[in-house]
Each structure stands twice: as C-alpha cells, then as structure tokens.
Amino acid sequence: METLTIKAEPRMTSGTRISRALRAAGRLPAVIYGHGEAPESVSLAHHEVEVALAHGARTLQVDLNGGVKPYLIKQVQYDHLGTNLIHLDLSRVDLHERVKVRVGIELRGVPKGIHDGGVLDQQMAQIEVECVVTEIPDTFHPVVTHLALGDSLLVKDLQLPPGVVAMADSNERIATVRLLAVEVVAPVAPIEGEAATTAEPERIGRIRKDDEEVAAETKKPEAKKAEAKKPDAKK
C-alpha cells in the first residue's frame, strides 16, 4: 500500500454543472467526512488520484488549507463505462485506527479438479476485513491448485497477514470446484412460422377483459359488412 500526498482545494459551490466544469478542468470532486466533524467538499487533481489508485493506494495524504492529514479512500465512483473517475469519498482516520474495508480476492493456479471435468466457481470476489489503516492488504491471492472436484476454498483457508481479521463467517465459501450442469438439448422441431416466439407467458394480476372477446368484438362489424356485400356480388 502506498500513501501519496495530494493538494486539495475547498469547494464552496456544489451541483451537477459545477462538478462537470471541475472535471473538464482536470479536477476531481470529492467529499471528506467522518470523526463527528462537518463534511467538507473539496476537489483534487484528477490525474494524481488516478495514479494513486493505479498504485493500489487505500489512503491519501491530503494537503488541505495548509495542513497535511491522512484520509481513507472510502468510495470511488466511476462513470457508466467504469473507466473515468467522477467522485471520491474520503474518510478522516487516525493512522492507528482499525477500519473495516473490502479487499479483492484473486485466485491463483489451476485446480486439479479442472482436469476431471470440473469448473472453478468463485462465489466471493471481495472480503471485508478489519485491520489498522496502515496495513490494509492490496489483494489476497489464495492458491487453488490443490482443490479437487467438489472441494471448496473457505474463508478460514485464507492466509491473512498478522493483525488482519476477516469479518465474514469462517466457513463461508470463496470458491468451489464443481461439475458443470449438463445442458439438456431438446429435440428441435421444424419451425413453422414463428411457433417458438408466439408462445405466450402466463398473465398475472387483474385482467379487465379477455383479449379474445375484444378480438371477437372488433371482427363482428367486418363480418357483418362481408355478409351484407355477398348478396350484391351474386346479383
């Protein structure tokens, strides 16, 4: 984990347009809160935050109004494509404080159960841990090569660094090697028209009027007209 120092500027105004203008000027809107003090709206240099996050930073040293203090990165917001940063939440922390954070789990190795036709299914991609702010792990890399078919990697199997406590249940599954359910393919009937797509789902809730009745009502005038025309045609 790295800690970088970034200069912040207080934001007196807020709102969508102002935040967009800030982002266009290369600044990142952020908010600082916690420790029972009033929240502060600030802006940080966008590129510096990006670099810090790329290096796996969990805390930032922020220079605000001349004073440099450590802050925990509480939440990072990205745009709809997940590429550009749009907002940062920073929490006031004491460097000796224990905090709860979510840490990613990246599995390493190919389980031996894969060779027997199994599939590695990762149920837990992140785990909540409690630790001192300065010792937040980047990512856990448990090795799964020993997992045979039907075996699971549990939370208690994770080798956590000293001082780091997992908040999840110790018997909770992280990953399992299991047989993939066999897909039963039904015999394909010759397609006539759009038989497959015309099958309709069941209707729920209050039905005001049956559609068949509505259709019958709309057809009635046509049928009457046709009947009325028929004798003329014979003549």
Partner: protein, 139 residues
C-alpha cells in the same frame, strides 16, 4: 428456445425510448471478464440466445457463461397485408433494453485469452458496438 418471461402483468407494451446510460448492471459482478455494450437500443431474445450459444460452444464446457440481461419487453406487430387500425398487433418477439455500459455477458473460470476470444465471437452476434472488460479487484 429463446428467452421470455414466464408470467407477465400485461401482454403488450408501448415501444418507449431507451434513454440515458446504464446506472446499474454496468460492472463485472459474477465472472472475471465481461462484454459491455456501448450503445443504447433493443436486444432481441434471439440475439441474446445466439450470443450465449456462441460463447458456450467456443468454451467447450470449460468455464461458465453468465447472461446479464433478460428480454422483458414484448414487441407486437401487425400481420402482412393488413389495413391500419383494428387495434394493436399481437406480440411477436421479446427484447431487452440495453444502455451504454450495460454488461451483456460475463465469463468465469477461463484465462483471459480464451475469454477474450469467446466474447469477441459473442460481440459479432450483437447488433451494437461492445467492448471486452475485466473485473476490477481493487477500488
């Protein structure tokens, strides 16, 4: 068979417009790699099924494919050579509304090159521009 709801409250729906961007369902949540849509519009149940089949066939029962959208919306049409009026047409097919950022498919349990090849094949079946994305493990 193509996807469609088991139960619906209303048989027919108005066409509507697909506006805005994906505010949810836009991250890799189940697998390790995903295919993200970059345009807004409809994806028919047949297109979704074609994508699923393309991925599963390529992976040869390795790994797992997740389909992240579902065709909830019925689209109706009138029969050929029918005069206008006389009520709305019958439901013909089902579509999923997708927005820029929507995660369409995800793949788990295979390495990146295999996942990239599989999802490229899926992308060719899609009517919109898509891109390959990886799960974000950190912040």
């Amino acid at each position: 068979m193509a996807l469609m709801p088991k139960r619906v409250k209303w048989r027919k729906s108005q066409r509507g417009k697909v506006r805005g961007v994906a505010g949810k369902g836009n991250t890799v949540a189940f697998g390790d790699f995903g295919l993200q849509c970059l345009s807004a519009g409809w994806l028919t149940a047949r297109q979704i099924e074609a994508g699923r089949v393309a991925a599963t066939h390529y992976l040869h029962r390795e790994g797992k494919v997740y389909v992240r959208m579902f065709p909830h919306k019925p689209v109706s049409s009138k029969p050929l050579e029918t005069r206008m009026g006389k009520g709305k047409g019958e439901p013909e097919f089902w579509v999923a509304c997708v927005r820029p950022g929507t995660m369409l498919f995800e793949v788990a349990g295979v390495d990146e090159t295999v996942a990239r090849d599989a999802l490229t094949r899926v992308a060719h079946k899609m009517p919109y521009r898509c891109r390959f994305v990886k799960r974000r493990h950190g912040l």
